[in-house]
């Protein structure tokens, strides 16, 4: 299974519609970095509205992809994290340091714009 990555001007948009299994998550990491490289994207929004569970492995993969993208020069914002997912992550003691987040896709794009203007 591959997660589709859409291009919108200088941004990449990803809406994760399934609960991620390990392989899909790792494949996504690679696909996203390749796409950033190909398109020369300045910013990425990863929307997690439909994701009902993030365990420690998936959290690590997502946190890593944000750092990897930053290394390449692209900013990433994660949006739409569900209440149950936020509660579970904190229960587990997982803190996604330095990961910019926003409530939804719209605010995520705004946040990206702000970050890129700085």
């Amino acid at each position: 299974m591959r997660i589709p990555i859409l291009k919108l001007q200088q941004y990449l948009l990803i809406s994760v519609q399934v609960d991620l299994d390990d392989q899909t998550a790792l494949q996504f990491q690679e696909d996203l970095l390749n796409k950033i490289h190909q398109e020369g994207s300045a910013g990425v929004v990863i929307d997690l509205t439909s994701v009902e569970m993030i365990d420690s492995f998936i959290a690590k993969v997502l946190g890593d992809v944000v750092e990897m993208s930053n290394l390449m020069g692209a900013r990433v914002v994660m949006t739409g994290i569900q209440p149950a997912v936020a509660i579970t992550l904190i229960d587990m003691g997982i803190i996604l340091d330095d990961v910019p987040t926003a409530l939804d896709l719209e605010q995520g794009l705004e946040k990206l714009q702000q970050e890129l203007e700085e």
């Binding site: 609960d19 299994d21 390990d22 392989q23 009902e52 569970m53 993030i54 365990d55 420690s56 492995f57 959290a59 690590k60 569900q82 209440p83 149950a84 997912v85 509660i87 579970t88 229960d91 587990m92 003691g93 997982i94």
Partner: protein
Amino acid sequence: MSVQSSVEVHTEWGIVSARQAGRNLAKEIGFGSVDQARVTTAISELARNIYLYAEKGEIIIETIEQYHSSGAKKGIKITAKDRGPGIKNIREVMEDGFTTSGGLGAGLPGVKRLMDDFDIDSVVGEGTVITAVKWLR
């Protein structure tokens, strides 16, 4: 009568199947969305540990009931069983941030915090049985 399902874990897909079985049962018993996520996440961590460290094992998910003077309470019980290498130092694996796999080290202490009851029984060279229970409030 208790509902029980057992999922064999020897591939990454076993992790996904165990997760789904857990979510379905949690929903059926009447857990809200947050506790459903807690139970599903706990199963995911336990199943991944089996896959990573023991290569194969089994996740058993069942409903349980406990009777008190004030009435009965219902819950979901997860048992993760393997015949892997066992855990040498249980105190160490229960520490936040301890990892031998390059992960976040949030797995087992995380499961303990997500669930209400938690127990590890492990014999080096023989295997590990971990049980975790979430009670319906």
